[in-house]
Symmetry: C2
Amino acid sequence: MPETNNRLWQQRYRDGAPQPDAFIPDAVVATLLEHRSVRAYLDRPLPDGTLETLLAAAQSAASSSNLQVWSLLAVEDPQRKARLAELANGQAHIRQAPLFLVWLADFSRLQRLAERREVELQALPYLDSFLMGAIDAALAAQNAVTAAESLGLGTVYIGALRNQLQAVSEELRLPPLVYPVFGLCVGYADPDKPAQVKPRLPQGLILHRETYAVPEQEAQLIDDYDRAIAAFFAAQGQQSPGWSRQSLERLKSIETLHGRERLAEAVKAQGFPLR
Amino acid sequence: MPETNNRLWQQRYRDGAPQPDAFIPDAVVATLLEHRSVRAYLDRPLPDGTLETLLAAAQSAASSSNLQVWSLLAVEDPQRKARLAELANGQAHIRQAPLFLVWLADFSRLQRLAERREVELQALPYLDSFLMGAIDAALAAQNAVTAAESLGLGTVYIGALRNQLQAVSEELRLPPLVYPVFGLCVGYADPDKPAQVKPRLPQGLILHRETYAVPEQEAQLIDDYDRAIAAFFAAQGQQSPGWSRQSLERLKSIETLHGRERLAEAVKAQGFPLR
């Protein structure tokens, strides 16, 4: 499948990264490279067994020390999806997608077990626990995304579910030692509003060997990438100031955090002191 | 492929979760369900193009606001792998695997860009940035794992790379605003020490609908799972006290964090104040 490889590579990197001679052809890799985030969904129900299949894929991802410190909350109620959409910066695709998955870091299961066994979990208050829950949930979620795309479904992650973490936690009745890491819309992509594969930074800007070194020509390669991103949006009839300006805009002020500046406070309220 | 489905389900859940009638057959889902962590590797080099293929898969995962706040550090030097193994609780498979990948949360690329454009990134000091880097890296890494397994390779995540985060950061010469999220061994599994699919908690303990509710019979289902895990280890000639005792042991004292109790201090030193 060298021709498929060429197409997939070009689609993902545009002219920013010459394709290596030795890129290995593989059907699963092709599924991964075809990923695109879907923000327009059909009003069409999912096949029976979809949730169970996605969850089995998710649970098959690695888990730190097999602690399985995550849970999955499936939301299908239109009213609840609408309320969550409001809490996540008004993103309409949360309402639109038939299934909205909330990926939770969850130490409450082990805390309940510890209480039954009368053990105190002294490691819980440390930052590493908070992080481990997020990593476990992210590895699981990415497997679910891969499974969903293989089943012909589209997805998009919703990081904005952390904008108002306390209100989301109340809406979902999350107990202490549980927090939402992100959301994920799942549904059939609307073919009238097709999502495209977004170009990424060239491999040379991401990959380091043996030790970290700032890539030569970093500034130049980012300029090139800015043009690739502007062209990507232009092809869809959208304007973009390019990646650099968009990214700096996203991080330059506290206002652009849309409430996430209170994340530390909110997760502490959920029982993670981040010691 | 209903028979394959039965086998995959039974392998992943044992008797803990009855297979739903509607589990959807799919070749990519089968690849995901076959995942196992490999801790014994052959001394056999990887095919040309492996790293580029895994990285293309990794970069195809979603990235929060497309900020791409992660980098990949590939370690192949035997001496460096040996030093990293020492820093990660002496795990021999880090030395053994031909390729050791360190997944980095990386805001330094955007910080360098911001300095060139004379912009201050006021959102960086907040906890959400620290978390976003970890999530981006984890989604990317999980795609690389899926690609590696499809190419016939084995992997295992190394969370213990956070045990001595400051020493690891020095070894890898990480600049400020970069921290290692975890490591990943990549290589050919040693067929003489085959890895098995580890059973997971039944879906009923992980899945919630609409709002969070403590599952009925949680204690009973965990007891059953303890027996499944004990049987899993016994089949490999290993003793296990069961999942409950192992998990509580892992979290019950600061000593079991093996240095990770200093993670907050170490990431603050790397420029993440976790505000």
